[in-house]
Structures are given as C-alpha cells and as structure tokens.
Amino acid sequence: MPAWGMAVDGSEPMPADLFAGIGPTWAWGGADGSGVRVCVLDSGIDADHPLVGPVDQAWQVVSEDGRPPRVRECAPSDAAGHGTACAGIIREVAPKVSLSSVRVLGDGKSGTAAALLAGLAHAVDEGFDVINMSLSTARPEFRSRLAELCDRAYFRRCLLVVAAHNLPIESFPWSFASVVSVASHAEPDPMRFYYNATPPVEFCARGVRVPVASPGGGTMRNTGNSFAAPHIAGIAALVLSKHPWLTPFQLKSVLYHCAANVSPQSDQGGILVTRTPERDH
C-alpha cells in the first residue's frame, strides 16, 4: 500500500447525502465574513477609501537588482488602483472580513514573476484563509515554483482565487487545479455565480460594469476577470466565516453546489446547462 493509501479501519464514511441540502442559505446565510482573513495580492490597497475600510496588514515586495525580492511591511497604499478596486469588491460582499495586502505590482518595473512568487509565498506562510489574485504570468520558468506554492496553499487551508486569462496563451496560476479560477458573467448580481463544466475556468462571477473603488475616494465601473475573482473571494470568505472547518477542496465543492446553474434535481450530473433561478434564496 502506498504511503498515502487510506486506512481500512477507523475512518467514518463521508456523509454524501449532506450535499443535497447545500445551497446559498446553508453556505452563507447570515454570514458577514467575521473572523476570516483575506489577502489581496496586487498593487496594494488604499486603506483610506471609504468603500474599502480598514486594512489590517500591508506588505510590499521590494526588488533590487542582483538580489532576490524581499517582503517588508509598508503603509497600506495603492498608487495604481487595481488592488483597491479588488479589495472594495471583497469588502462589499463580505463586510466584516479582515483585509490585508501584499503589493507585488508597481514596484518600479512592472510586476515581475519573481515578485509575484515572493509575495505569494509570504501570503501563504502568513496563513491567510483566502488570497485573491487578479493577475497572472506567462513565464514558463516560474510555472513549477508557482504550482508548488499553490499546492502548499491548498494543503494549508488557504483558498487561492485567481482571475482567469482570456488570451489564447499559456499562463499561470489560474490554470492550476489547486486554485479557484474565475471568469466573468454579465449580470449585475454580485452574489450570483455559475459553475463552468469545462475547466480550467471553474466559476463565472460578476465581471461586467462592476462599480469599484477608485484611487482618490471615488468609484468607477470596470469590466474584466480581474473584478470577477474578488466576488468569489468574498463569497468564499462568507462561507468560511460560517463554516471555518472547510478545506479548499470542500469549499470549492460548496461553491459548486451553490452555483446558479447547479441543481441536485438535474439528470446531467447536477449541472443545468441553462441558467436557472437560484433554489433557496
């Protein structure tokens, strides 16, 4: 028997019938994100923006020529605005969540894959429950290390929510099985999302004309997968605030059962191919 083989005794059977009752009400009804730590891996977060609220911790990746990138604490700010837009969406969906920031973009040169790796490793080691990554890299030399980090997060109960890429090129980490990959749908409901039965994109969330926090205190309307991923990150935080025992595998399954196009009554593996009203809210 291989080292990872299941023991023949002492294990309780999984309560598979539990899934029939899983829907949005069970998953996040009454939840507000309390007690869940979410990290936005991006361009930083403007903590002074009224739609974003407090930022508990903030770091930045510092890159110097000839030296490996270092992570150090910094003031919660965002000169570019991309991270603030994502953070505002998470705050809207899960108002009481603890938000933190690791700035991996906008450090002099444009965000490098090395900075991304250093920032992600730091966020995983810090033990965040959810990490939002509305970014990707196409550098194949970093694929292996990124995959290792995503696996480490997966086994440490850290859910990585990553914006999918629409370009017909190979890029990472959204295409890894260990993360939750998100593309956009065009409906205005921030809590409505769909399961995609043909991965690597697994879920579609609101990503069109999304009102987001903009640098300086205002709002703007943005479209793109960058703004769909934080919706799922926020919803995942809600679920975890109510059911903190969920592993990333279980949490992804809960999201699947809560998707607007999934029904236990369907005879197509639980996936209704046409969009249907939500079952229980």
Binding site: S110, G111, L135, N166, L167, P168, I169, S171, G224, N225
Partner: protein
C-alpha cells in the same frame, strides 16, 4: 492609406496598422499602443489612431501609469468606464493621448511569455448594449495577433542585423588574412564568424 504610414520602420507601420484596425472595428474615437521598455518597465507611447496627439509618440511614462499600467502589471484585459469622472485616470489618459475619453478598453500584448505592450481603445462606439464581454474577447484576439506580428517583425530584423554583421566580419577576416600577420587576430575573427553562423542557424531552426 496615408503617406505618413509609408514612412518609418516596419515595426512602426505594424503598430500604426494595428491601432487603425482597432479603431475601425470598434468605431472608436481613438486607439493607441504603449510599448513596455525592457530595461526600465516604462511605458512608451508608440502609436495612435484617431483623436489624440501624434506628437506624443515616443513619450515615456513611468511603469504602472494609468490603465495601461494596470494591464501591463496584471496581464489582464479590462474595460474602465466613466473614466472622465475619475480624476486619477482622466489625468493619465489626457496626458498620454491629448484626448480625454469616458471609456478605455485595454489588452496586454504578450510575446515571448512577457507583456511587451498594451493595446488601448478609447470610447468605442457601443452599437448594442451588454456587449462588453464580446468586445473584450475581440480585443484579446486583436492583441494576440498584434503581439505575434511584432515578434515576427523583431525576429526578422534581428536576422537581418546578424546577416549584416556577418558580412562585415567576413570582409574584416579577409583583410586580416591578407594584410595582418597576427594569427591571434585572425583566429578571433574566425571565432566571431563561427558564433554568428551558429546564431543564424538557430534562428533558421526556430522559424
């Protein structure tokens, strides 16, 4: 086709063609391309079609500036509406093109596994509502085609450059053999020639 389009380098022709097509297919007020400086990460305003300032072509902006900076950093395609209501981006857009748009759509140009530039479309004419995702998909396709074309142009220019260096070295080598008794100089030139031939062969295989 304007007379202006027929001047300049092949790469500049290509960039100008890309923004002209992008502007046309979206019936947009303008389209522009920023190229990423490989040394500094600065954004270099490389081409514009429609509203905007041709004189600003060549101007550099710090890495991470505005919508183009977002796209370069995150490698994600996006649309930002009501730009004019947002001081930060309005300022960026105004200074980059000389035109103040209300909507910007932008996609990364990815070649050689890295973002080499950003294609932007300013104030596309929305003929039908709820077409944002279709518009983004088309922009991704245009950006991909532009990036592939740019790669090919640069690859070809490198090959021409290599060929020219090879010719110069061959002549120097002949001269060295005929007039220079120094065997070390002759050997050095022959090593250079060998390296150039190998580079040329690798480029041929890579095609």
């Amino acid at each position: 086709m304007s007379h202006e389009l027929l001047s300049g380098t092949t790469e500049q022709h290509l960039l100008q063609s890309v923004v002209a097509v992008a502007r046309h297919v979206y019936a947009a007020a303008a389209s522009s391309i920023f190229m990423v400086s490989p040394d500094t990460g600065d954004l270099v305003f490389a081409a514009v079609a429609g509203a905007g300032e041709q004189s600003l072509v060549g101007r550099r902006f710090p890495a991470g500036t505005g919508i183009a900076g977002w796209v370069t950093m995150s490698c994600q395609t996006l649309i930002v509406d009501n730009v004019a209501e947002t001081d930060h981006f309005a300022r960026d857009a105004a200074t980059s093109t000389g035109y103040l748009p209300s909507s910007i759509m932008a996609a990364p140009l990815i070649a050689g596994n890295t973002c080499i530039g950003v294609l932007e479309v300013l104030d596309r004419h929305a003929t039908e509502p709820d077409r944002e995702l279709d518009d983004l998909e088309l922009l991704d396709l245009l950006a991909t085609q532009a990036a592939v074309s740019l790669s090919l142009v640069r690859h070809r220019e490198r090959r021409v450059e290599t060929h020219e260096w090879g010719g110069l070295l061959a002549r120097l080598s002949d001269l060295a053999v005929a007039q220079t008794p120094d065997p070390l100089a002759v050997e050095l030139l022959s090593v250079c020639l060998h390296l150039l031939q190998r580079t040329t062969a690798e480029h041929s295989l890579a095609r």
